[in-house]
């Protein structure tokens, strides 16, 4: 995955050098993550592809005024979020939708089966555990584990504190850990049972 520094440098080349090649690289590096994120809000991959394309069109049109942007990744996620919510509002079908009402099927992630670390059975348990989490918690887990955002970036995007991000992520990790029932010492298993009941 492309890291923050590379994204920063591509973004810089777009804003200062009008570099179309860097712009295309940036699109390739981020489009699928942004499309999934947008699709979870608008519940349509087709619509999300257009939204993310619009986000990048705006980026190109405004590139010479974007040199103040400190975190390009957050800028693009926030643009995708706003445009997705606007699109929903325009459709009028779902009024007063917020980022809390996300399509959870779209957000599901699981460990890659190929590397043999996780059996299909365990993978299913993980999926089940993630689905049992509150929507926002799932979103945070996805943004950090899959999209590679930092606590601070997720916090800015969702308008919450980094502390909350940390707490929510811990909840997700706990739920998933418990679902695959790794055999900690009996003492700890007992404690789990006490906490759960």
């Amino acid at each position: 995955m492309v890291n923050d520094k590379q994204i920063q440098s591509l973004f810089h080349r777009v804003c200062y050098n009008n570099d179309m090649q860097a712009y295309n690289e940036l699109y390739i590096a981020l489009c699928t993550r942004l499309i999934h994120f947008s699709a979870s809000i608008v519940s349509s991959f087709h619509l999300a592809e257009e939204i993310v394309s619009d986000v990048f069109i705006t980026l190109w049109q405004k590139r010479n005024n974007l040199s103040h942007v400190e975190n390009p990744l957050v800028y693009l996620y926030v643009s995708a979020k706003n445009l997705s919510l606007n699109t929903l509002q325009q459709q009028k079908k779902h009024q007063h939708r917020s980022i809390e009402h996300i399509n959870l099927d779209i957000l599901s992630i699981a460990p890659d089966a190929e590397n043999g670390m996780v059996s299909a059975e365990v993978s299913q348990k993980i999926e089940g555990a993630i689905r049992s989490l509150p929507a926002r918690c799932q979103l945070i887990f996805r943004l950090i584990k899959h999209d590679g955002l930092s606590y601070r970036e997720v916090a800015t995007l969702l308008g919450i504190s980094p502390k909350t991000v940390d707490a929510q992520l811990t909840i997700a990790v706990k739920k998933i850990s418990q679902a695959i029932r790794f055999d900690l010492s009996d003492e700890i298993v007992q404690t789990f049972l006490r906490i759960d009941s």
Partner: protein, 350 residues
């Protein structure tokens, strides 16, 4: 509560937010509960979306689709700078236009024995004296046009062909890079070939030389004389090309050669050649008669000398928001000359 801490540390490790202290805490906890190593391993794996994963071919298709939407959007902004027309209507028109074009080209394809080269519609941007203008070309390149200049460009650049524009006067270009379609600026005396870069071209018809100034990137200047000489410029270099008015002159007098020089910094980072782009009027160690020529163009006035010896005084200065009187007064402050305005509004230096 050790296990709660274990979850928190595993979460932070996964997020790449683990401090050094926390890393050693995690090591200790893992030693106490070695079986937790499995869960740590699972979290360190690559996780993928369960639904709708895009293959790299699909991503490439997404990019192509996006690029054509971008071109369409750029064309819209050029055609309607104030964009009052709702976007959907434009899309409709573009759709119709596109299908008409298709029909026409299909027609050509079938009914013409020889293929006729379709020429793209030309657009023109003209600035009068005193006005400067800025434009975004359909490929995303930006052009600042100085006063009294003219730029011809196609409304749409063709794919896989050089992007070509014609310039009379002065313009500053920030060219969007596109290796497939090199950018070319044509003037009466020379041509500039570029990839992605920013540069200034000054080719006013009434001036005795034309200048290409490179700020960033790389350009080649092709001289439009019999030799087709090519001069490559590096960043912060400029090329001054003398203009021969009549061919006869070339035979009788020694031809002045094009001259390469370094750019002149007035102060900090203000380059005199391109200061006009930022609405600054800048000159360094420049003869007063050249300064007044700049002022004439900048403010759209006429300036003349009552005392010819004043023509060769040298001045350095940067002006931004000042009006003509303020600039003249500032220069007059050196006590080397004085100025007055006659009844017709013409300025006289004495």
């Amino acid at each position: 509560m050790d296990q709660e801490k274990l979850y928190a540390l595993l979460a932070r490790e996964m997020a790449g937010q683990l401090s050094e202290k926390e890393a050693s805490d995690l090591q200790q906890l893992l030693q106490r509960y070695p079986d937790a190593g499995y869960i740590r391993e699972v979290f360190s794996q690559n996780w993928s979306p369960v639904s709708n994963q895009y293959t790299s071919t699909q991503v490439q298709q997404l990019l192509e689709k996006h690029q054509s939407r971008l071109q369409e959007a750029m064309a819209e902004t050029i055609i309607t700078p104030e964009e009052e027309v709702p976007r959907k209507v434009w899309k409709l028109y573009l759709g119709i236009a596109a299908s008409l074009l298709m029909l026409i080209s299909v027609g050509f394809y079938f009914f013409q024995p020889k293929r006729i080269k379709a020429t793209a519609a030309l657009a023109q941007l003209v600035t009068s004296k005193r006005t400067r203008s800025q434009i975004l070309l359909p490929d995303g390149s930006r052009v600042w046009l100085n006063a009294g200049s003219k730029l011809d460009y196609p409304e749409q650049f063709e794919p896989h062909k050089p992007r070509e524009v014609n310039l009379e006067g002065e313009a500053f270009f920030v060219v969007a890079s596109d290796a497939e379609r090199p950018f070319r600026v044509h003037t009466k005396t020379f041509h500039v070939r570029v990839l992605g870069t920013s540069f200034n071209v000054r080719a006013y018809p009434m001036e005795d030389s034309a200048v290409t100034t490179l700020v960033q990137g790389a350009v080649e200047v092709v001289l439009d004389n019999n030799t087709k000489q090519v001069v490559a410029l590096r960043p912060n270099e400029k090329l001054t090309i003398p203009i021969h008015t009549t061919p006869a002159e070339i035979h009788n007098t020694p031809v002045p050669l094009p001259q390469k020089a370094k750019l002149v910094l007035v102060q900090d980072s203000i380059i005199t050649e391109t200061a006009w782009v930022q609405n600054k009027l800048a000159f360094k160690h420049l003869q007063l008669e050249k300064v007044t020529a700049m002022l004439e163009q900048w403010y759209g006035v006429e300036i003349d000398f009552r005392n010819n010896s004043k023509r060769n005084l040298f001045f350095t200065g940067v002006f931004e928001a000042e009006n003509l009187e303020q600039v003249l007064n500032a220069l007059e402050y050196t006590q080397s000359f004085s100025w007055e305005k006659d009844s017709t509004g013409k300025i006289w230096i004495k």
